[in-house]
Amino acid sequence: MIDLAFTLNGAPCTVAAPPFAPLSDTLRERLGLTGTKEGCNAGDCGACTVLVDGAQACACLIPSAQAQGAEIQTVDATQGAVGAVLARLRASFLAHGAAQCGICSPGMLMAAADLLLRDAAPDRAAVRDALGGVLCRCTGYAKILDAVLDAAPKAVPAPLAGEAVGASIARLDGVAKLDGTDRFGADEAPADALWLRVVRSPHASARFSLGDLEAARRELGLEAILTAADVPGVNAFGIMPNLKDQPVLADGLVRFRGEAVLGLVGTREAVAAVRDAALPITWHPLLALHGAEAASAAEAPQLHAHAPNNLLIEGRLNRGTPARDVAHAEGRFTTAFVEHAYIEPEAGYAQPAPDGLGMEVFACTQAPYMDREETARVLGVAEELVRIRPSACGGGFGGKLDVSVQPLLAVAARKLNRPVRIIYSRAESMASTTKRHPASITARMAADAQGHFTSYEFDADFNTGAYASWGATVANRVPVHAGGPYRIANLRNRARAIYTNDTPAGAFRGFGVPQAAIATESLVDDLAEQLGLDRWEIRRRNAIGRGDTTHSGQVLHASAGLPECLDALKPDWEAMLAQVASHNADEPRIRLGAGIACMWYGCGNTSMSNPSRMKLTLARDGTLTLFNGAVDIGQGSTTVMAQICADALGLPLENFRFVLGDTSRTYDAGKTSASRQTFVSGRAAMETGLALRRRILALANAGDDAALRLEGTQLHVGSARVIDLATLPADLEAEGRYDPPTTALDENGQGTPYATYGFAAQIALVSVDTGLGVTKVRRIVAAQDVGRAVNPTLVLGQIHGGIAQGLGLALMEEFLPGRTENLHDYLIPTVGDVPEIAVHLIEDPEPEGPYGAKGVGEPALVPTAPAILSAIRHATGVTLRQVPVLPHRLWEQMR
């Protein structure tokens, strides 16, 4: 420890800190300034960006010793020039919706402040250069660029009662995300919490035995070394109700590199100082099965007793009899593991109740109620004894649906009967949590002479990794969607999830549908080429629409706006084609190409009940509180639920207070996944608002259209009646619930798997440097049927973010276990990679949805990669059937 003196946000500061500790750590853990975030501790994400002597720098790369005598400014700065610039940037970020989950926002703000202090009126290129070192996984950067460039943002005025739905109001949780006060998983813990560090397997497949742990514990100065034997309940977790196949701590056998083996608990210094090599673990490596092909081989060892041939599950859809036709295309396609790369690694703490039974877990999550169930099982206690308090969630995208830190923390806290905290390192997060399933797909498609699709066949193996996670969901969802949003009478689809010794694959925006769309849209381009049809034209001819029957036999009675999406894109498409033709006429090396793709996506769980329930109270003191169990992971559900509920009730948003996703205070609103929150929980919020409204109207004996107004405890109902809430015998309370109507799928995959579907089409303009094989996406135009845009700014944010992730999937993202476990070898798009994006919002209202709305979260990602591949093919003439299209892969195909 050394004593440091420096200027912090304009004021003198002294602190004792280890000289080699990163400055970010000293700011967060010793000075309590948790506004500065840590996403990687390796300079790769920029979340920790601060100003040092007026210049932006990663606080995670600065030894605290170098702070001596320096002037440090953080997102907490309020004074002086930095404070003034930050204030104006915050307002602009809020107005533009530039913060979604908000974990990158402090870093973005500081990088932008660095620029604006040097250059008060920068151009877009200068802003890109300044922000190039900060990654954002949610926004696709577009709104961030707009916010930095817009010096005089106009705040959207608060909507009147009944006019919240459809208004682009600023997100209600935005201020805390922008001033650094939002509490993410790593930002809060009891002062007396011990630290947990997990020792993970360096082998993908191995048996292990443990030596004298008690001697090791004493020697290393730890409070405990946890093993499988310390799990008080069932040492297993997993998504599927009937398949809890993953141990909290491995019991003598590991099935993937990164699997948890031991838990070290002690002071932070003690657990951090332990060398894994000093622990008494003896490894006996076994043959590891990498990839679905190796795991399906006849001689492959069986990884789980319940899964012969390592087959977890197979999903099918059969309809009609596929046959060849005038035009016929087929291909084999492969996709890689894709990492969610949320900027917030998993973190949190567990606090045991003194009774030895109860447990509270504060952590980042997308699914608090599932976490509660998993944690309770692992602890061997009743679910009600576990309380999950979700922290702010710094990005999820499906990766925080499974438990990660929760059961480990709970086991440790129970064992030591003390609060225990953990913060995953970036490498640990990447090595141990779920990924997008790599797919290997064979597909065929046929069309008649008029270009009408007649048959489709799809056979895919999805590598589900060492444990099931969401493998079954992928296998169920994919056959329903694989054929794409087109009228096709004959289909034979099969999707298998295969166990391997790779990192578990789980849920990731789209549950396997993005992989399938890459294959299908490529075949559609093949058919268009064979028939001499324009690629837009063939899609328009086959686009499924209202009144049509889906591949699972469901008639789309309403809200099926794909034809409208395509029509909206037609002028852009023609302009793009013209631009490509004129450019390519005299430019042999840098070729332009235009591409197009469509998608559909069922909102909510596949053929499964997935209810949502909410509560609204109007207390006698005049406070109006929505108890909303839906977790906002940045997509904006907190704001959207409020807008919907406000209009249903008929009071303006500013009257509302909120209690959010806390298993002891809110009802179960289901998980934040499958694009279901706006649709399912939104409808529950609407029903809740309507229910309270009915009670009020009944109390006041007023008519249906009576306007409400709340002034203190005086509730005005219509022009004549006033209820004095203070005089009521009890608070007014109402509940609403919604469970989308679905039916089970039969053995041929026929039924009504979803109550509604989202539809979208995108076109992409790319340039390809044919000399180097480098692709740059120049422009994307998206058209998406969202039913009703409850908050257009938030909807656009989802679409921009989905497009950026789709671009990554297409061009750069490939997780290789053991090789790309950081954010410099695993590449996600930076602000310099994201193209100009234009969006047409199509609103074909969904009668089941709240005010016509349906899901938006996942659909935006699905068409992007296939549209980019289509454009690359247009530019170069080569068809890519493997993603990501790294420069060397494109170069190989072009030769």
């Binding site: 300079g43 960006t49 010793a65 900060v134 020792v199 410099h824 190989e892």
Partner: protein
Amino acid sequence: MGMTAYHRPTTLLDALAIRAGADVAVLAGGTDIFPARIARAAWGDPTHRDVLDISALPGLRDIEETDDGWRIGCLVTWSALARRTLPPLFDGLKAASREVGGMQVQNRGTLVGNLVTASPAGDGIPNLLALDAAVEIASPRGTRLLPVAEFLTGYRATALAADELVLALHVPRLEGAQGAFRKLGARHYLVISIAMAAGVIATDDTGRITEARIALGACSAVAQRLPGLEAALLGVARAQATRVPQPHHLEAITPIDDIRATAAYRRDAALVLLQDLLEARA
């Protein structure tokens, strides 16, 4: 972690004494040291050598003009380099300084640190080779000057002895010379090079090339000059230079397959990068 001793001397004499007296890791901007430390700790090795932080040493943050050229102090950051007014000779190095990582890294990382790390993908290195730079090295035994090509001895290996520090880089003057740099990566910012090419070209009044120094990075364990290509460029009209590079000029490179690209691609891309590098400027 707690065991690591940390020295931050304020005189060169003290620094050299610490360096000579113990096995220490020299730390300047820390942008290589910290990520390497995190990567080891992630898989269970939190130990670290003692640290000699040289950032408080005086007089090493400047780029001075000398009789023969320029002396770049070992604490000169990428940003400082980019901001400094320098002749076109430095255009390649300056271009590299704007493409290293993001601005956060450019503001802290040093050119010398990049050289000493001696990564095949270090963006500064081919530029220093093309600039014919020499390394000024100090130890309690005295100072010595070593050409960059001799300083680099292998994959992440240098000729620096255990008691030595790099004090500066020396870049000789070359009248009428123009530097250039081409970097190839799979994304826009924050990207490790798949391959890169750097060059310095001097021409006479008729536009003929009088000196050419061309180097490739990330195409072998150590970045290297291409003497065959350099010879072939001599006397060629500058406007024609882009046609000169041929596959046989690349015979000495030994690219590898890794997560970023294949060897075959690197070899081919290197040729294109060289052609682009030699493209005449308007």
